[in-house]
């Protein structure tokens, strides 16, 4: 995979291929011609500021959203034109960790984890299912929480249980939407280690949406940066770290832009920042 944003992408270039994707919600243009490929067995991290379309892009990879224009391929098969029924066997090959976990609050942890199994397989051996749930919970460090309800778990615990649910059907691809958002640094690192562990042990392909650069550097084989609905940089961690684009540097170092400072000044706000405007020249 090169460091170029290119429209000449082929459906066979990766396990997931997004070709010339546009998405609008009403008058709001969210994605403006995204083309990318996700390499099998690798972790691709999509970074970018809030509201730049990262989650919308990820939703398209599993066709939770339909493109306004463009094509989505999974293992060389075009999937954005399939109906919900035809998508079911494809979605089973994915695991999706939602930003808030999206655990079913009316079901306990055990029932949440067996949900995808129950939907797609006939359960005859409940002892084996019990063992499977124990194994999945052990993988995410949540042994013994089978009978807890999501409401009684902390944010980090909910994300770990959601991850156990996402891997219940041993997926080939796991999509992580902001896996470390809202967690303290230690819990964030636990999630990072889990992502690495799943890649190592299950050989899964991962796509991670995040704006946590520490996490991105730790887990990424390949980083794609989105800005205002377009890819402005993609490459390995070193390439992104040394990228010459101002927006990329501002984002990865978490610096406020001069334009934002000027806007705050116009609003009459008096404030102090650790950066002076000349820092951005």
């Amino acid at each position: 995979m090169g460091n170029v944003v290119d429209n000449e992408i082929s459906p066979d270039d990766g396990v997931i291929v997004v070709k010339d994707l546009f998405k609008t919600f009403g008058k709001l243009r969210v994605l403006k011609g995204i083309s990318l490929s996700v390499e099998a067995g690798k972790t691709t991290v999509i970074i970018g500021p809030s509201g730049c379309g990262k989650t919308v892009l990820m939703n398209h990879m599993i066709v939770l959203d339909r493109p306004t224009r463009g094509e989505i391929y999974f293992r060389s098969e075009r999937i954005d034109e399939l109906n919900e029924k035809e998508l079911a066997p494809i979605r089973v090959q994915y695991g999706f960790l939602f930003q808030g976990g999206a655990l079913f609050d009316s079901l306990d942890v055990f029932e949440n984890i067996i949900f995808p199994i129950r939907q797609h397989r006939k359960i005859t051996d409940w002892k084996a299912i019990d063992e499977l749930v124990k194994t999945k919970l052990a993988m995410v460090g949540m042994e013994g929480f089978q009978n807890h309800y999501p409401a009684s778990l902390s944010g980090g615990q909910q994300k770990r249980v959601a991850l156990a649910r996402a891997i219940a059907l041993d997926p080939h691809i796991i999509l992580y939407d902001e896996p470390t958002t809202g967690l303290d640094p230690i819990r964030s690192d636990v999630i990072n280690e889990l992502i690495l562990k799943l890649k190592r042990e299950l050989k899964v392909t991962s796509v991670v949406v995040t704006h946590d650069m520490k996490s991105a550097y730790k887990i990424a084989d390949h980083i794609i940066m989105l800005h205002e609905g377009k890819i402005i940089a993609e490459g390995d961690t070193d390439y992104i770290r040394n990228h010459p684009h101002d927006v990329v540097q501002q984002f990865i170092h978490g610096r406020v832009s001069e334009a934002d400072l000027a806007a705050l000044r116009l609003g009459g706000t008096k404030f102090k920042t650790q950066y002076a405007p000349e820092d951005f020249k």
Binding site: L64, E84, A88, R91, F96, G100, A102, F104, P116, Q119
Partner: protein, 269 residues
């Protein structure tokens, strides 16, 4: 002005189209569910939440309807010396119109509100997207069991409301207003036909389906945030309420035409 009107019209038509599609998918899903015994457990769970827990409120509603009718109608009938016929007036009103309609309105508030709030919250917390992402149809998993539970249980809840309405009317008429018990039942039995009772109960199937469909649709399509869920609940109740009244009117026209075709209308007094 023209632009706004046009945009609103397009919006209404698009919304009607989405709702029709939702109803169509629910109907197909319901038929499939009926043929798959493994999904019955989902329906049972909803029947407990929707039906069993609604019995007390529906019974209280029915009882007060019967009692209020007795209190208000007594003076008019007593003035004409027809107070012993109070039973027929109360019971026909309860079993044919007020019992079914008020029980359905009570269900629209209790069950419809709960369905919209539950599904709306699932929507804004991405739980519905999670169901889809795991290759499961959320209509089949979330909507169909709720619609079937409402379809199957609303008629029974209406029977409970009717029963309590009859008892409430009897209590006020006979115990409080001192009307002769035998005459009360005699006139009631002569005036209220099986047809009247059947019409009220059959309405329950339609009211139940309408409440569930509107409530689930609003929950599935609610806007983000607590305000979005709140608005969806209000819209679901108003939509169900108006639909129940409109359906009741259509039912009145149809059942009257059917009755007039096969039987002759008799005077209740």
């Amino acid at each position: 002005m023209l632009h706004t009107t046009g945009a609103k019209t397009v919006d209404v038509i698009a919304n009607a189209g989405r709702f029709s599609r939702f109803v169509g998918r629910t109907c197909v899903g319901s038929m499939i569910t009926c043929l798959q015994p493994k999904t019955y457990s989902l329906v049972w769970t909803q029947m407990n939440a929707i039906g069993v827990r609604s019995v007390p409120v529906v019974m209280v509603t029915g009882a007060f309807v019967g009692m209020v009718l007795a209190v208000n109608a007594y003076d008019q009938l007593a003035g004409m010396g027809l107070e012993e016929r109070l039973g027929v007036l109360i019971n026909i009103a309860v079993v044919k119109e007020l019992g079914p309609v008020l029980a359905a309105i009570m269900l629209a508030g209790r069950v419809g509100g709960a369905l919209t709030a539950e599904l709306g919250t699932m929507n804004v917390t991405q739980q519905i997207s999670a169901v889809r992402s795991m290759g499961t149809d959320p209509i089949k998993y979330l909507v169909v069991p709720r619609v079937l539970a409402c379809l199957l249980l609303t008629p029974f809840l209406i029977i409970y409301a009717d029963l309590m309405g009859i008892l409430g009317g009897y209590f006020v008429s006979v115990i409080q207003l001192d009307i002769n018990s035998a005459a009360y039942w005699q006139y009631s039995a002569n005036g209220v036909e099986l047809w009247d009772l059947s019409v009220g109960v059959v309405k329950g199937f339609f009211f139940g389906v309408v409440i569930a469909l509107i409530s689930c649709y609003k929950g599935f399509n609610c806007r983000e945030g607590a305000q979005g869920v709140g608005e969806a609940c209000t819209e679901a109740f108003v939509g169900s309420f108006i639909s129940i009244l409109a359906l009741n009117f259509i039912f009145a026209l149809i059942t009257k035409a059917i009755y007039a075709t096969f039987w002759t209308t008799q005077s209740l007094l």
